[in-house]
């Protein structure tokens, strides 16, 4: 049976039904609306909105981005209008589109995460992405992402407070990403997304100061792709929940590497800044690849890398 072009790409990630396996990564696509001049949002797999906190956050001072070789660093510091404004002002606008909206949540404490989950539970969103890996905030953030026990605690708390699918986003800044993946899976994560940014730094040799306002920042873009593919592959060997792979995806070919490594869906981040059409183009490229190979469903590729 030949599959329709649409059915070929459709995926269901822990109950979140997407038309394509290509999502947009948190913090790189705003609330989606910012890119609606370029992209038909209904053609995006899912929109993961900017990291959201209980109270509004102003983010970090000073310079917030820097270009690096084949990548960029950012230290936005989770600037966001707070979860209530998201629910009352932004979500109603997004509800006009037929695209699953996933909210990336960040807290300073375990309770924060729970409270965020509770408030978002009936907001009309399709799922939560628990960010335990933000390198750009002093409290919480990455601390939860490098310690299996804290990570589990956060996940259990969130699961308690919501009926929505819970994706947990892992940090690459760890010795053993598999340990973290297993911990959050055991704690009830419905899916795992990775990677968040690698912690980096750049120094301005003209004034002997860090280039970024927050001294260090999160590295993303093509430069990190090999690390991201490796981690997705490692985690795919170890967990049963679906994986959302990201880190440096610019093209359908890049996305296919992640899928073969074991990702059931992918997200494009930094690439949006370079090519605003990328989320749709990558999905089309994947469909073309499937067609050329005579495959009928994206699932035929997931985790099919042969390392024997």
């Amino acid at each position: 049976m030949v599959n329709t072009a649409e059915a070929m790409l459709a995926v269901n990630i822990a109950g979140i039904k997407m038309k394509t396996p290509v999502m947009t990564a948190s913090g790189t696509f705003g609330f989606g609306l910012e890119y609606s001049d370029f992209v038909d949002l209904n053609k995006v797999g899912a929109i993961v909105v900017k990291g959201t906190t209980l109270a509004p956050k102003a983010g970090n001072n000073g310079r917030r981005i820097a270009e690096t070789p084949a990548g960029m660093m950012n230290c936005i510091g989770l600037e966001n209008p707070g979860v209530d404004e998201f629910i009352s002002k932004t979500m109603p606008k997004l509800a006009a589109y037929q695209v699953p909206v996933i909210v990336n949540i960040s807290g300073n404490t375990v309770e924060d995460y729970g409270e965020l989950a509770a408030r978002l539970d009936q907001s009309g969103i399709a799922g939560l992405e628990v960010n335990i890996s933000c390198p750009n905030v002093k409290q919480g953030g990455i601390a939860f992402g490098t310690c299996p026990e804290s990570a589990s605690e956060v996940v259990r708390e969130v699961k308690k407070k919501t009926s929505l699918p819970v994706i947990v986003k892992l940090s690459p800044n760890v010795t053993d990403v598999v340990l973290m993946a297993r911990a959050v899976e055991d704690a009830g994560a419905d899916a795992i997304s990775l990677i968040n940014t690698l912690l980096g730094m750049a120094i301005d040799i003209k004034n002997w100061r860090p280039v970024l306002g927050n001294t260090v920042g999160g590295l993303s873009g093509p430069a990190v792709k090999p690390v991201a593919v490796r981690m997705v592959w490692q985690v795919a060997q170890a967990v049963k929940v679906p994986i959302i792979g990201m880190g440096g995806i610019m093209t359908a070919e890049d996305a296919l590497e992640f899928i073969l490594a074991g990702a059931s869906a992918v997200a494009v981040g930094t690439a949006n800044f370079v090519n605003p059409y990328v989320s749709v183009e990558v999905a089309e490229g994947i469909r073309d690849y499937l067609t050329k190979r005579g495959l009928t469903q994206i699932g035929d590729l997931v985790g099919k890398v042969n390392c024997g």
């Binding site: 913090g27 790189t28 696509f29 705003g30 910012e34 890119y35 001049d37 370029f38 900017k50 102003a58 983010g59 310079r63 917030r64 981005i65 820097a66 270009e67 070789p69 084949a70 990548g71 960029m72 950012n74 936005i76 600037e79 209008p81 873009g221 093509p222 610019m250 930094t270 949006n272 800044f273 370079v274 090519n275 605003p276 059409y277």
Partner: protein, 255 residues
């Protein structure tokens, strides 16, 4: 018609002076809807080095020919690579971005310093029919090739230079009060280094003339999505330079 991302062919590319270049590209989709003060986010190559786009103000725009003009200074890797562009080469242009200037003034005074004079050029053209005045500043005579560019679009041109090699010896802000006393300007439009804008805003406030300033910041997305370019405004709200700006009313800005 709306923001878009197009492949634009280089029509003309020449050195204006020293390390300042003028680049003309064909991008009719953008040219047809451009307002003064807007900018374009440029991707130079389809390689990943450099990776990010670079923002440049639209210094001129010919809707008939469908062309955009950028005037840029070589400051780093991207602009250095940019100088290699030859007529016939293509770049990718995303735009028009940003809000643009309010162009309702009857007697506008434009104040520009350094590369801040690029976006004011298109603004001056929009004001062409009115008696626009420009006050321009630069480091030295060599940098002030700008009078030629403004000759046809501004009625009055006032010049200051840091070293006194051309025009008034000093900064634009020094000359500003004098001009405001002489003439009844109903709006000031300023673009240039932050410290200059701050000075202009202060003088404008003192003389009670409405003032718009065009700001710069490091930008990843250019469309309000990444939050790399935000700043707090005087009402305590967060503003994005790329979409809420780059043009702001001076009194909105926390200096």
């Amino acid at each position: 018609m709306t923001k878009t991302c197009v492949t634009a062919q280089v029509m003309k590319h020449t050195v204006l002076a020293g390390d300042v270049w003028e680049l003309v590209v064909a991008a009719p989709e953008i040219a047809s809807i451009t307002r003064p003060g807007q900018f374009v986010h440029i991707r130079l190559t389809d390689t990943i080095d450099p990776l990010l786009r670079r923002p440049f103000s639209i210094a001129d725009c010919d809707t008939a020919k469908g062309t955009l003009t950028f005037i840029y200074r070589v400051v780093g890797r991207g602009t250095a690579l940019m100088t290699k562009l030859q007529p016939g080469d293509t770049i990718n242009c995303m735009g028009p971005l940003g809000n643009g200037f309010d162009v309702t003034a009857k007697r506008p005074l434009l104040v520009g310093g350094g590369m801040g004079l690029a976006p004011l050029l298109l603004l001056a053209r929009a004001f062409c029919s009115r008696p626009a005045t420009i006050l321009m500043g630069g480091r030295n005579e060599q940098e002030l090739f700008w009078p030629n560019l403004y000759a046809t679009v501004c009625q009055n041109i006032h010049i200051t230079s840091d070293d006194g090699s051309i025009g008034h010896h000093g900064f634009t802000v020094d000359l500003l009060p004098e001009l405001l006393k002489q003439d009844k300007f109903d709006a000031i439009y300023a673009c240039g280094p932050h410290v200059m804008l701050k000075g202009v805003a202060a003088v404008a406030a003192q003389y009670d003339v409405p003032c718009q300033v065009s700001l710069e910041d490091y930008m990843a997305c250019g469309v309000g999505a990444c939050l790399s370019c935000t700043c707090e405004n005087t009402s305590g709200k967060r503003h994005k330079v790329c979409t809420d700006g780059p043009v702001f009313w001076a009194q909105e800005v926390v200096w």
